[in-house]
Symmetry: C2
Subunit: 448 residues, 2 copies
């Protein structure tokens, strides 16, 4: 089903929804820092004259989601009443309109609430673009001419590490054998790892049971949340090792719990678990800190990225030799556009990208980015896995498909992010049924 032409599609309105899932009730998503997340999204729908819609979201942890919703509403002015081709013909210029608003910019620039909002809108535009073209996003990207792809990237502030010509050359050189790589993805999917076994709030019994179950499902890479008492972390790690053995991979994730010096000490201790990587050992802002940890604990690979707020920070992580694994986030940065820049920089510096996922819709998003990365940028699956977390997928119209620890290639047009109408209604905050019930229950308990 080839879609309408880009120039016939006009964006007529943007609907923005404050969507929150009460995940904190079951400790889903708990870690050493984020103890009680209510997985949420600032969700936006681009409405058009043709009936097609573009869907986009930015993931948050609950409180404050309203700020991102409000920022998305504000930025909507740059997309309403435009033809889609006026945007797709200048994707870089469009992204800059969002990031360069002369007054709004002060609140970042290119970070925090306003950048999260920018990600939601840009991703919705790409979703619409892919739907109009009748392709899944990964395919749209993989089939775009290199000179079109680089026109979507803002090289400002990164051209000392990667300029437009270098990006163009890299993309052009690596087109070779794309069909072979595509055949591989179609056959086996993209390798993944599971985070669902080792949340911080889970008991040791639960971790053991979940590790055993995940192993039986074909998983080979398992992540454990650490950052508690050292002995607890090690004991929990050994429980997983007992279940998965030493050939399968285990990663540990401290979610920014430590300062640099403590991170060095704790990472050295955790080395006895032979972790495949140490994730977020310290502040995501600390480029030099990560470089020092990596240098002082060479036996453990260092990973970060889910809180790294833009391409300029990732550029420095690469320039400083601070990370072994780059964990881009699909919506913390400015959507597909900025992630193209990040994928290309990672390829130039030869650092594998293993995207952050989980939350709401992040798995749905990043499967496209990683497929494109393999097809057109890195051209390698070595040391590359996508995070997988097994919750909230039931709310998506076209959820991810996992088979034997691999993401199967999504084939529906778009960016796979559309949430079912029922879920959008029920989980809308604060008016949705789920939340009204929760408030009623809280009132009752208050009276009891």
């Amino acid at each position: 089903m080839k879609g309408k032409q880009l120039n016939e599609t006009h964006i007529t309105a943007v609907r923005v929804i404050d969507l929150r899932f009460p995940t904190s009730r079951s400790h889903i998503g708990s870690d050493a820092v984020n103890k009680d997340p209510d997985y949420s999204a600032a969700y936006c729908i681009l409405e058009t004259n043709t009936g097609l819609e573009g869907h986009g979201l930015t993931f948050t942890l609950g409180r404050g989601n309203d700020l991102v919703v409000q920022a998305v509403r504000y930025l909507s002015r740059y997309v309403v009443n435009r033809s889609l081709d006026s945007i797709t013909s200048d994707l870089r210029g469009f992204a800059r309109q969002l990031t360069d608003d002369t007054q709004f910019r002060w609140l970042g620039p290119e970070k925090g609430v306003i950048h999260l909002a920018t990600g939601a809108i840009l991703n919705a535009v790409w979703d619409l673009y892919a739907r109009v073209e009748g392709k899944p996003l990964w395919k749209l990207l993989a089939e775009m001419e290199p000179r079109e792809l680089v026109k979507a990237i803002d090289f400002r502030y990164i051209d000392d590490a990667l300029n437009e010509q270098e990006a163009l050359d890299l993309l052009t050189e690596r087109r070779d054998c794309q069909k072979t790589r595509l055949a591989l993805l179609e056959r086996q999917g993209y390798p993944a790892y599971t985070t669902s076994v080792g949340w911080f709030g889970y008991s040791e019994e639960k971790i053991r049971r979940l590790a055993r179950e995940a192993l039986a499902e074909g998983w080979t890479h398992f992540k454990l949340k650490v950052g508690g008492e050292p002995a607890d972390d090690l004991r929990r790690g050994h429980i997983i090792r007992e279940e998965i053995g030493w050939t399968n991979k285990m990663m540990v994730d401290a979610n920014q719990k430590w300062g640099v010096l403590e991170a060095i000490e704790r990472t050295r201790q955790l080395a006895e678990l032979k972790p495949w990587w140490m994730e977020e050992p310290t502040s995501p802002d600390d480029i030099l800190g990560h470089a020092r940890i990596r240098h002082e604990v060479p036996q453990v690979r260092i990973a970060t990225g889910e809180h790294v707020h833009n391409r300029i920070m990732f550029k420095q992580m690469l320039q400083a030799g601070a990370i072994d694994v780059l964990q881009l986030d699909s919506c913390r940065v400015a959507g597909v556009n900025e992630n193209l820049a990040i994928l290309l920089m990672a390829a130039k510096f030869n650092v594998p990208v293993c995207p952050h996922a989980g939350g709401v819709g992040l798995c749905e998003y990043v499967q496209h980015l990683s497929a494109f990365d393999y097809l057109s940028v890195s051209t390698s699956l070595e040391d590359r896995v996508i995070e997988f977390v097994d919750h909230l997928h039931e709310h998506f119209l076209t959820p991810v498909h996992i088979r034997q620890g691999h993401y199967l290639l999504p084939m529906e047009p778009g960016y796979s992010i559309q949430i079912k109408q029922d879920s959008l209604t029920q989980f809308a905050y604060p008016d949705g049924e789920i939340w009204q019930e929760a408030f009623e229950e809280a009132r009752s308990n208050g009276r009891a």
Copy 2:
């Protein structure tokens, strides 16, 4: 007038005001990136049982100020219904409550909208604290015991550069001769420079006239906004040099206009103006970029900071040898608490602090921080000047006093940030009189 006791003061409510001044009409504050700012503030008032109030604000450029207002309202939960001494006895713990909210934190951490909001609240608490103690903030800080001061600082993520003991030692060692330094400040004030002569939107005639007038008023340091066409920048620079000569100091400020490579080239060109510093040559996130610019253009000193979003970024700017001048911002970071950390790190690395000011209330704020810096931390005025911009001071109850290019020491209790009730009413957005008139005018023009 010694105030009430801390434990008798209870914070009963927080009022938050969206305050905006229509400065864009006269090109005040215009530069190469921020072309049309409406200087604004998310303004909060801590109300207490004793009638004393704590005032705090965060500066923004207009649109999006509502986001910060909303974030301040959210964070108010951590301050309402508390005794002041429950906060002042654990200022570090209090700041962490604001920055570590388990769900809100995702929107940063410690950056952007939520961090700006944190700054407003923390500064309001310090204002109230100083009023209760009956002292101007600089004096409250200068008279606090070193062990009390360090308890206000969150050393998390910076202890690889400066730990609590080092900070304590530094503060203790430098208490000597504080009275002599105080006498100097009382006599001559703290040196300043003016940014009012060289806004980007001003004509060459206006720049020449303003430079001449400022020189006559006793100014010795003048800043010019650059980042236009190279020839224009140089011509405008030479106009100022013609007026102020080559003994007086001129600084140039590109407001993040350039990438690293362009910044190197442009800074080399601007060297012919013998700038005292080159400010914001590139992205405020680019620690390694600033280090490279500084290394490759050693003849020009490099400055940045007004957009550097927290102590972790400043730590790295210092560790990387990226800057010659550190321009902290009083409310982009988490208020007085985080600025204490930044002042101490700068002192350890022997980098002078020349605070960012202007906007709304930044001059009123930073005069206290710089006075404290001189009295207790750096103990030096060498290469140190506070920015001064001459607008909007008429809205403050106790505005800054400038004499012969120096800030005179403020003597009223508090942090000097209280805005007159009339101004709070008139400039409230969107309901204030000034804005209602502007909307009416816009409607009339629309009809014309």
